[in-house]
Symmetry: C2
Subunit: 471 residues, 2 copies
Amino acid sequence: MREILITDVSLRDGIQSVLATRVRTDDMLYIIELLDKCGFWSLEVWGGATYDVCLRYLKEDPWERLRKFKDVAKNTRLEMLLRGQNIVGYRHYPDDVVEAFVKRAYDNGIEVFRIFDALNDVRNMRKAIQVAKSVGSTVKGVLSYTISPVHTVEYYVNIAKELVELGIDIISIKDQAGLLSPKVAYDLVSALKSEFPKYPVHLHTQTTADLAEMAQLKGVEAGVDMIDTAFYSLSCQTSHPPGETMIYVLREFGYKVSVDEKLYQKAGDVFREVRKKYSRYDVLPPYPDVGVLSHQVPGGMITNFISQLREQGMEDKLEQVLEEVKKVREDLGYPPLVTPTSQIVGSQAFLNVLHGERYKVVTKETKDYVKGLYGKPPAPIKEEIIKKILGEEETIYHIRPADLLEPEMEKIRQEALQAGARSEEDILSYALFPLVAKEFFEWREKFEKGQALLPELEEGIKEQERKEKVP
Amino acid sequence: MREILITDVSLRDGIQSVLATRVRTDDMLYIIELLDKCGFWSLEVWGGATYDVCLRYLKEDPWERLRKFKDVAKNTRLEMLLRGQNIVGYRHYPDDVVEAFVKRAYDNGIEVFRIFDALNDVRNMRKAIQVAKSVGSTVKGVLSYTISPVHTVEYYVNIAKELVELGIDIISIKDQAGLLSPKVAYDLVSALKSEFPKYPVHLHTQTTADLAEMAQLKGVEAGVDMIDTAFYSLSCQTSHPPGETMIYVLREFGYKVSVDEKLYQKAGDVFREVRKKYSRYDVLPPYPDVGVLSHQVPGGMITNFISQLREQGMEDKLEQVLEEVKKVREDLGYPPLVTPTSQIVGSQAFLNVLHGERYKVVTKETKDYVKGLYGKPPAPIKEEIIKKILGEEETIYHIRPADLLEPEMEKIRQEALQAGARSEEDILSYALFPLVAKEFFEWREKFEKGQALLPELEEGIKEQERKEKVP
Ligand SMILES: [Co+2]
Ligand SMILES: [Co+2]
């Protein structure tokens, strides 16, 4: 009777998927207390978009959130999602920033790092993995799943080999777009368990196209050891399978799951009420996005295309743009259609259609990507495309992008302190997001003096003033 | 490469589950046109609650809806859900009404009848099956799925035996509450395919607890021949698995599915826009109901309990009421928690808690149920319970409830004509719902003379007048 371990991701990926990451720390503390007693292998509660959103929109210190969570969660490992060399941001950071960040995260309570790179360029994951291992934390080394002719089971086994050589503890499949079918889940997990019998295999897959529940079931049949779920009131849509249901299903099939499903549902009941406070962000359709099954373009991306085309009076060209997305994606060596490469491919496809000629106008991001500044494309890019996009410039695939970056921590230290940083954590915030961090430090000062309000209160007051102005 | 056949249920069970059955015929005609070209084995478009809602709320003639659908659907069988001896209503009707109805339905375009009885009392299904077969239509004989100590795989095989003896064409599992787990789906389908190798097995299961997709996958593995799905924009929540996803999944596993999934998605795209018109009914949460997994009480029922308890100032007794529901359900021989037995069990449980003594106050419905007026309970009711509830009255389980009813068609014919009936179909409406039908006939007369508006227009005008009255 094999045991299946579960990580609950409700308060990171759940809220990020379904409520634009806008849920406040205070609204989560009681729920963490409940989750902490359920028996999860870990709780993913940090990283991803939460860091940026805390600073930028919530005016919360993400490190304080982590410490408050750690205070409450006495029994369960806390986990974070780390974007490899991008840490919790949108660009590559130098190694010294990665090192400082991972160490600080560990000191503040993170015991498990789930580390990924959208291109599966392991060089972009190396530093973070090495530092996370050096402090003694557990590393889930991620295979970022997408669909393309080159992203085969063999491809993923090879990435896993590299990750295993780097010292990861758990091989972790990350299906951000919700494209992983039950068949591929079965085949992929079978291959991984067969090639790496000593390594636990973990599966994280979103319910965007309503595949994830089936993918998890087949994954478990193939030998998966750990899955991610959310409690029911943060499950489904673009989030995760409901844990209460997966536990029920797995137990019926004879697997052991040591999670208190009643308490899990109770956490879900509590959040059901909390969710009402965030209704302004609660805008996703209640039904799945099945378009991704045919063209892998996420619904949100299509909506953007439609607006952009509308602005140009070119709404009838949507099909053409979607076709062009396929071509650009192929040309660029099949990057996955997730941030940031989805934006790169999407913008370029749009421009190609707008100008009626492929790569007549090329975005900076496309150039940087083709050059190799994001990492090595999953598949080689054809010479003629490289030439068309880069002209005389050479590609630098043999260079790890972060090797081009100077250390920053000491360089920005003084600046950060002047901007209002008070701690190493603050300095890291400044290193990651200088403008946003500076605004946060300034707001924080005012707030402590009673000269600023929480953003929603400020907004509420402005809204009231606007209403009163209307005759 | 086994073929899996699909019935699309979007425009009956989809709209009934998620939009309170309120979608108008005109909003569905183009979609039927698209669905008709997809290659479905059938389209379930009639019966269930649609008949009542058409007359009562939409002021539409359900028979006209059927004829309009039939006009458009040139390639695909039309199917209806028939509540056995309850036809499309809430009580037993006499055999002559059942016969007239099934024949008329067939004449108006129904080629497939999915016939069920919530108690699985096959005597309540017998007449409908016999008439449906006599006109040459296809009959899906239903096993109404629920969870209880007596509703075992063996129990269902026995019901299926009875149905097969009555001449059904397809053995059809109906999981209205969304309780069917993938394991039980596998076991049940395996047993049915093994016992009845010549019979196609059909699976209809709602996504209420997010089990249905997994149950369908396992059901197909076990040999299921036919499944029900909805297009994506009417899928999930308490409706059905998204067909686009199920087709994708099944094909990957090597099954043949002859449905045009692109056209299916197009129908879904069209309906996505239509759905916006019905937003006032579009109120279900976007996440599953997992409570049913532990106590099988549907979320809606719990909400009702909470209101009723609140009225009595007894909100703290919710747990007690839910416990009592379990006990009452056991006492009453494990009726399923679906309409109408969910209301019977629920009301009785509530009264038991309210009065602090079990069966001190007993509803008429509880009495009728225990007596056998709904049919034979799935499991025997204990003598002492029968005595407590019926006193000196005897049970009549040996009598088919409809045998107690006098033929009605001729009796009500004159009355119906006087009330405004103009056709056999109208007379059937009157036989089924005399008051509602009469109101409809009267409204129809006025509407044809330009003296009445569609209900939503009437409502809109009243709303406007109310607004104008406010200073
Ligand atoms: Co995710
Ligand atoms: Co149904």
